[in-house]
């Protein structure tokens, strides 16, 4: 079990990776209780591996970042003038996670720099509703397993008539690239950086959905937080050490989890007390230790028992009578 890093050398990152690799080896040796001779053989092997690596450009990304990253498209070709969805597909090793747009107590969300052919434009990254990741003392918000961060892309209407040179990838193809930086964590974190690309044919006809990714796109889109229905009324009462968030909706709700969009407003790790109301739901959220001033609005995403997620922006009222100093 030797971990193989990929990118640029001489950074602290690299240094860290090296030491992790050494540790991995040490652990492997320890576990197998090898003889001294076998230990030196393994060390020799490791040295050889170092020596043979061409300028720090090592192989397989997967072993290094504890998962894989791909740039995928929902459809198999591009129709000029139409919008379509692409996404960053992370497939994480068991036990490892990446972060939501508000990562919670620690971590940072993936950052992407698009490199698109001329005329194409990508919208903001869309984040499916996250999960609570409890790694005491930290409570983070993020994703495990397979996750797709989506982005809508608009194809310009003039595409086929253009000289091939204007389309990266040439000919009847368009090539999209994304420089992605992310942090992948278990009890330790590893910063990762990868450039991923995707090439799609340009066709003057309605595109077909890629059967490989159809289900993933549909599932991920269904977890994207929607604007709260206009009929909903939400408000927060600041009471002592708590924020009591009430959401009046069309039906009683028994289950919900609130994910704050701003850091340092609620205590991420505190249990959320939920009570169903005849029409709606009430959540008691503990204020953050680090919140020193009253806030005017509590913004976040609420995920209901049925998995649907809504964006909440609730005005905060101070309960003067019961607010402790």
């Amino acid at each position: 079990m030797i971990m193989i890093p990929t990118n640029d050398s001489k950074t602290l990152k690299e240094f860290r990776k090296l030491s992790e690799r050494k540790k991995g080896l040490a652990m492997a040796i320890f576990r197998h209780g090898c003889s001294r001779m076998r230990v030196s053989f393994l060390l020799l092997l490791l040295l050889l591996l170092f020596a043979l690596s061409p300028g720090g450009a090592w192989g397989s990304q997967a072993a290094d970042t504890h998962g894989s990253l791909q740039l995928v498209s929902e459809q198999q070709s591009i129709e000029p003038g139409h919008e379509f969805w692409i996404g960053l597909r992370f497939n994480l090793e068991k036990g490892w996670h990446i972060y939501w747009v508000n990562p919670g107590d620690s971590g940072e969300p993936p950052k992407v720099n698009w490199d698109l052919p001329a005329g194409f434009g990508a919208g903001d990254l869309q984040w499916p509703a996250p999960h609570r990741l409890e790694h005491p003392p930290l409570t983070d918000f993020g994703y495990e397993g397979e996750v797709l961060l989506l982005a809508p892309v608009h194809a310009p209407s003039q595409l086929l008539g253009r000289p091939p040179a204007q389309l990266a990838g040439g000919g009847g193809n368009a090539t999209f690239a994304a420089d992605v930086k992310w942090l992948v964590c278990r009890d330790i974190c590893i910063p990762a950086h990868q450039r991923v690309t995707l090439s799609l044919a340009i066709r003057e006809r309605a595109p077909k959905t890629d059967p490989n990714w159809r289900a993933l796109f549909e599932r991920s889109r269904s977890r994207l937080p929607q604007p709260a229905p206009v009929s909903w009324k939400s408000a927060v009462l600041a009471e002592g050490k708590d924020f009591v968030l009430s959401i009046e909706s069309d039906a009683s709700q028994a289950q919900a989890t609130f994910f704050p969009l701003e850091p340092l407003q609620i205590e991420n790790g505190a249990p959320q007390r939920v009570s169903a109301m005849p029409r709606g739901i009430r959540l008691t959220l503990e204020k953050s230790d680090q919140l020193l001033k009253p806030i005017t609005n509590l913004r976040g995403v609420i995920v209901l028992g049925n998995g649907r997620a809504y964006v909440i922006d609730a005005p905060v009222f101070q309960n003067k009578r019961r607010t402790a100093s």
Binding site: S106, E108, P263, A270, D289
Partner: protein, 207 residues
């Protein structure tokens, strides 16, 4: 006599009940008195926070194997801060809450050798392997920084700076919150950024 006894007993009892009902996580809150502690350092010396009334005290949660901590040590940033502020009379405690068998756990001798090697100059390194100091302050990450003023009031709780990365290259352009808090408080001004989200590796507490 019995009456007197009862009255005498009830006050500490009440206090104890009150203390027990306060959520532990809220113990260290900016603007409130920093909780007192008794912890032994790597030279066997016992430190009580209450001994340092009249001085600024910095608490720095540390794990030398954590890449975020390493960013600030490999660059010399943390050592520079320690040297500058202990030079100005600040008491600087590096705190290690890694439990035995977890990342960053060290013995006293090992840590003393490390401090010498890094040319670091904390006032002392406090060994908190059972995590009680860490839990008392709600330390979540390494680094996680706290600043206490000469009156014993917590005036800063948060990150070391505003660039939550492992990149040394980010240090020169980062705003160092600890530096700012100490400068402002020493100049008699309120601390402009008294809290921030700490960043780094999780503190490796015993579970």
């Amino acid at each position: 006599m019995r009456q007197v006894m009862r009255r005498f007993l009830s006050l500490p009892l009440l206090t104890a009940i009150l203390l027990l009902t306060l959520p532990a996580a809220r113990a260290a809150q900016v603007g409130s008195p920093a909780p007192d502690f008794t912890v032994t350092d790597t030279n066997g010396k016992v430190h009580h926070l209450s001994e340092y009334k009249g001085k600024f005290v910095v608490l720095e949660w540390h794990n030398r194997e954590c890449p975020y901590t390493r960013k600030h040590y490999a660059s010399g940033n943390m050592e520079r801060l320690q040297k500058e502020w202990t030079g100005k009379g600040v008491v600087w405690f590096t705190v290690i809450s890694s439990a035995p068998g977890t990342q960053g756990y060290v013995t006293a001798d090992d840590e003393n050798a490390y401090v010498a090697k890094m040319n670091a100059s904390p006032t002392a390194v406090l060994l908190d392997a059972e995590g009680s100091l860490g839990h008392l302050y709600g330390a979540k990450t390494t680094p996680h920084m706290f600043v206490i003023n000469p009156e014993g009031v917590l005036i800063y709780n948060g990150a070391i700076d505003d660039k939550p990365t492992t990149e040394i290259a980010d240090i020169p352009s980062a705003k160092n919150y600890v530096q700012a808090a100490l400068e402002e408080a020493m100049a008699g001004q309120p601390v402009a950024a008294p809290t921030s989200r700490p960043y780094g590796c999780s503190v490796k507490y015993a579970h």
